[in-house]
């Protein structure tokens, strides 16, 4: 098997947006998105924003308590937010599913679909993770 040649000159300063459609633990989408964002940040890219839609809104509830030896998905996203990445949860999808300001981890905000629109227009690339 070939290994994809890396260490190529990256396209620096590219703005990426990431969209997540599925909830934590149940689908791998959230993990894939997290690993992708970590790799993009490590390569010096700007993350224009991360948008949680559909069941993706469940990713950032501070009420989750995974087993001690498992990853804490909401805290991981909060740490990405603490680095200055704009993390947005869709208000319409969140209300329907019971995700509100009072249960959000920090460094994450609830806003409208206009934010997704702006990401799709302003980001050089949008990468979507879902089911």
């Amino acid at each position: 098997m070939d290994w994809n040649g890396r260490g190529r000159t990256g396209v620096q300063g590219m703005k990426l947006a990431v969209v997540v459609y599925e909830g934590p633990y149940n689908h791998e989408a959230s993990d894939s998105a997290y690993n992708f964002v970590q790799a993009a940040l490590a390569k010096g890219h700007e993350i224009r924003g991360i948008f949680f839609y559909h069941d993706g809104v469940y990713n950032v509830t501070k009420l989750m308590e995974p087993p001690q030896d498992d990853r804490h998905i909401a805290n991981r996203w909060s740490e990405i937010g603490a680095k200055g990445v704009d993390i947005v949860v869709c208000i319409a999808a969140a209300k329907r599913r019971g995700i509100k300001d009072e249960v959000l981890v920090s460094n994450v905000r609830i806003s409208g679909l206009g934010q997704l629109t702006m990401m799709a227009i302003e980001a050089d690339r949008v990468v979507t993770f879902g089911d």
Partner: protein, 132 residues
């Protein structure tokens, strides 16, 4: 950069079994208010969302046929359906719901049925593509 960005939505899931088609429609309506060049392509099971006559009353969930009927009013007029996906599902152009009417002739407007090669070419021209 005064040129409008081209944004495509792809709809590949069937309606009602999951909320993707429904919540995806909400995104399209919002995005229509922004300065972008929007197109929507229905392919695979997504074409099933375009079947006229859907009635979700007995199911007890909200339908969206009426909203699709207003797509042209929302200035979303580049709406396409993949021919092969329709054929595999036994659908003809007559089965498609109406997405608006022509301002002058008042003729009903339906999604445009096109081939996969045309869709592939359109995809390649986009600034970004959002799958819903």
């Amino acid at each position: 950069m005064s040129e409008k960005k081209k944004i495509m939505f792809t709809v590949r899931k069937p309606p009602h079994g999951t909320i993707y088609v429904y919540e995806g429609l909400e995104v399209k309506l919002i995005m229509a208010a922004y300065d972008a060049d929007i197109s929507v392509v229905f392919m695979d099971d997504g074409v099933l969302a375009l079947k006229a006559g859907q009635n979700t009353k007995e199911l007890g969930i909200k339908g969206f046929e009426a909203t699709y009927g207003a797509l042209v009013d929302y200035e979303i007029s580049q709406v396409y359906a993949d021919r092969q996906s329709m054929e595999e599902r036994g659908m003809t152009e007559d089965d498609l719901l109406v997405i608006g009417e022509d301002e002058d002739t008042e003729e009903p407007i339906r999604p445009q049925v096109i081939d996969s090669s045309e869709i592939a070419a359109m995809m390649a021209e986009q600034h970004n593509i959002l799958p819903f």
